[in-house]
């Protein structure tokens, strides 16, 4: 199921709210309802692979139990290794097997035997979540979970099941059995969800249509400006799409009494590449840092190699194709250069240089990310840098761009922290007196109505509705 569908907002959610808030009596019943609804949510579009998620969770559940009963022994170590390896092997078989089989066969001139499995939804996310559980149990950071249903609830919870944020078990361990319901958090959650939905269904979808229009056509007839409009549109799409999903997840989490970590912090205002990666998909970079980079030795020993491993895997996590590995390597090189000398230079220059430098390199990065077909990837760069025989501007480019000028203005404002500034001004205005507090609250009610109204219209009218992070 996707958040941006009428079936989710107008069937799933009302039933879920009804059962969760008005039928369930205590936290135990609420957890059961949340678990059942999450499994329905998962099975909605894909009933088959739900079993894989359950098995994967079961493996970690049993593994953690063995670890807990055999502290300090080799048995605990083996249990950790076997559990993590099992989860990762599921991910490998479903996501990466065909990639390796194909390339292996290619090298030796054989006919590849491919599995051609469809990727179970959310597997890249929940595999990492289960790993945080068992590793943290092993390190005695968290107590072992005695109830399988509770562990399954943690893994399958529908707000963050499909596209993150990757919530560490230690982050919400306490909240699973003990959470407070605060009306204000619930209200904020509703607003966060509705605003995120608009970001996805209006901004991300328009950006997506623009990107497809320019980037999926014949690259020989694509103009220089067309290439830039296309890749900038994709830059906007991937941010809106993914951060909107996180907004909706965090909002829904708040409604049900959970606090999820933030996943994005205005990445497109970063001044260096390292800064960008502290702001983009924070829960993924945190995972790789805490569960891979630091265990490998971190900055203490052979950190250049550690960085290489982390970046290649970061790229590969996004998809089992060469272009994603290239994308990871691209950032590896940039981050290394910044650590060596580039970072110090950029920091001493005026900040607009840093913004320009970062945005330019990030946009180039999305080229690697967008084109899975290596021939098209290679053909796109000459167009983008004006080396090819392509025209400067195409017949329709100007018209398409001018028609979308209002969209671009809104979109570019929406990637800046302007909403944060408005929110701050709003809170300042409210705190003046009791009357202003009431005016503020009434306007929030109106905002809720307005957002629900345009979200619904956009959902009724939408035919083009891909979620980019579904593939991962």
């Amino acid at each position: 199921m996707v958040f941006s569908s009428l079936a989710f907002v107008y069937i799933f959610l009302p039933i879920c709210f009804l059962l969760y808030f008005f039928i369930a009596r205590d936290i135990k019943q609420r957890n059961i309802i949340l678990l059942v609804m999450s499994l329905i949510f998962y099975a909605w579009g894909e009933p088959k692979w739900i079993i894989l998620m359950v098995i994967s969770t079961l493996v970690e559940f049993i593994g953690a139990k063995i670890i807990d009963e055999n502290r300090g022994t080799t048995k605990a170590k083996v249990a950790l290794g076997v559990s993590v390896a099992t989860s990762l092997s599921f991910l490998f078989i479903f996501k990466y097997f065909d990639f390796f089989a194909f390339n292996f066969a290619n090298i030796f001139g054989l006919t590849p035997k491919l599995l051609e499995l469809t990727l179970p939804i959310g597997i890249s996310f929940y595999t990492f979540q289960t790993i945080t559980y068992i590793v943290d149990v092993y390190k005695e950071k968290v107590p072992v979970q005695k109830s399988f249903a509770t562990l399954l609830l943690y893994v399958s919870m529908f707000p963050q099941l499909i596209a993150g944020p990757i919530v560490k078990y230690s982050d919400i361990e306490e909240q699973l059995n003990n959470r407070k319901y605060h009306p204000k958090a619930v209200g904020e959650g509703v607003i966060r969800f509705l605003v995120g939905l608009a970001k996805k269904i209006i901004l991300a979808n328009i950006a997506g249509e623009m990107a497809t229009k320019f980037l999926d056509g014949d690259l020989e007839t694509l103009s220089f400006l067309g290439a830039w409009i296309g890749i900038i549109s994709y830059t906007l799409q991937i941010y809106f799409d993914f951060s909107a999903y996180s907004d909706m997840a965090i909002g829904l989490g708040k409604i049900f009494g959970f606090t999820y970590p933030e996943n994005f912090n205005y990445p497109y205002i970063a001044t260096t590449i390292s800064d960008f990666w502290k702001r983009w998909h924070i829960s993924l970079t945190t995972f790789f840092r805490e569960y891979l980079y630091i265990p490998l030795g971190g900055n203490r020993k052979h950190h250049v190699l550690n960085l290489l491993i982390v970046w290649v895997l970061t790229g590969f996590w996004h998809g089992s194709a060469w272009n994603f590995i290239l994308w990871g390597l691209y950032y590896y090189v940039l981050v290394c250069l910044e650590r060596l000398f580039l970072g110090r230079i950029i920091e001493n220059l005026p900040s607009f240089v840093g913004h320009f430098y970062t945005m330019f390199l990030v946009i180039i990065g999305w080229v690697f990310f967008y084109f899975e077909d290596m021939d098209r990837l290679r053909a796109f760069f000459p167009v983008l840098f004006g080396f090819g025989a392509n025209s400067f501007i195409g017949v329709t480019d100007r018209a398409v761009f001018l028609n979308h000028i209002i969209f671009f203005i809104i979109a570019i404002l929406a990637v800046t922290p302007i909403s944060k500034v408005i929110k701050k001004k709003f809170v300042e205005f409210k705190s003046k007196s009791n009357t202003t507090e009431t005016i503020g609250d009434v306007s929030l009610v109106l905002l809720t109505l307005f957002m629900l109204f345009i979200d619904t219209a956009a959902m009724v009218g939408s035919t083009f509705n891909p979620f980019l992070y579904f593939r991962f």
Binding site: S5, L13, G187, K430, D441, A457
Partner: protein, 127 residues
């Protein structure tokens, strides 16, 4: 236990109002859509609407049942035509769909979309 940051919502009452407005509206639409008479044709879009699909073991497991059901739900959603108009309004603001005006190129003013057989202008240019 995590502590709540100071909220931008001042009163608990209004916070609950926000939740209840959301909950009540989505529930009302759900109830209406269950009891409203079935529509089968959309005059506005000049097409037949998706019927309620009959489930079978194969369609449930390969996902087509759910897909058809979602299309049915969206096709027969209460106030559908009104929401389509609103959506056109949003699109007009963000991306002016109407062609014309001084700045905007029309590929061939004497031809309509049908002459291009539903192809985009880029496709026609290539030919």
């Amino acid at each position: 236990m995590h502590r709540l940051k100071k909220s931008y919502i001042h009163s608990n009452t209004f916070a609950m109002v926000i939740f209840f407005i959301f909950f009540v509206i989505i529930s009302i639409f759900l109830i209406i859509s269950i009891f409203a008479p079935e529509k089968t044709v959309s005059e506005r879009e000049n097409r037949t609407l998706q019927e309620f699909p009959t489930p079978s073991i194969s369609t449930v497991f390969n996902g087509t049942f759910i897909k058809d059901f979602e299309n049915h739900y969206s096709d027969t959603f209460p106030l559908r035509n009104f929401f389509l108009d609103v959506n056109d309004g949003i699109k007009k603001i963000t991306s002016q769909l109407s062609i014309g005006g001084d700045d905007i190129v029309i590929y061939d003013a004497n031809k309509t979309g049908d002459d291009f057989g539903g192809e985009s202008l880029e496709d026609v240019e290539k030919r």
